[in-house]
């Protein structure tokens, strides 16, 4: 049985140690100028 491939979501940022190993990473930051437009009543 084959395993599902992990999501190919690009990392938005990385922190690496002096050896180049990734010690922390976070997802992309998505910005929209009207992100809250739908909240208007």
């Amino acid at each position: 049985m084959s395993e599902l491939a992990p999501e190919e979501t690009p990392a938005g940022w990385l922190v690496t140690d002096p050896g180049g190993e990734v010690v922390a990473a976070g997802p992309q930051t998505v910005l929209g100028a009207s992100a809250d437009a739908g909240q208007e009543t």
Binding site: G12, L14, T16, G32
Partner: protein, 147 residues
């Protein structure tokens, strides 16, 4: 929460509405972000529509004002989404950083988009490097749209 600087919001709305003389669309937009290469500024506190956060101190590969040489961004989709940066940006901390937000600014520090990094605050110890992923369109670390 919009992610545009308040002054730029005013300029864009002026340009897109009949705010000029005799109902012509306005001309306030001009070149609000200048005409030379943009920068990506990193902050240790949160930016807002009104103001940038407090900029991090310099490190190796990061100088006051922000990363330069972001590369020429590309876009995809309808309506389009622009990816920033095109070229991966990296800097090494020479004093500990806590990175919270960023501002995409003109070369003269004119503010455009701002945002908080996902999972902020990001701790970067001395000797470690902080990197924002570069790439074409949807592969870049920051995705920007007007929707």
């Amino acid at each position: 929460m919009a992610a545009l600087d308040n002054t730029l919001i005013a300029a864009l709305l002026n340009y897109l509405t009949p705010t000029g003389a005799a109902g012509v669309n306005g001309t306030a937009i001009g070149t609000p972000l200048g005409t030379t290469a943009m920068k990506l500024r990193l902050n240790s506190t949160a930016s807002s529509g009104a103001a940038a956060g407090t900029e991090i101190v310099n490190g190796t590969g990061y100088s006051a004002g922000g990363w330069t040489s972001l590369g020429q961004s590309t876009s995809a989709g309808t309506p389009i989404v622009v990816g920033v940066p095109f070229t991966t940006q990296s800097a090494t901390a020479t004093s500990a950083w806590s990175i919270v937000s960023f501002d995409l600014v003109g070369n003269g520090a004119q503010r455009g988009f701002w945002g908080l990094f996902n999972a902020q605050p990001i701790a970067v110890g001395i000797g470690n490097a902080f990197q924002v992923t570069g790439g074409a369109a949807g592969a870049a670390g920051i995705q920007i749209s007007l929707t």
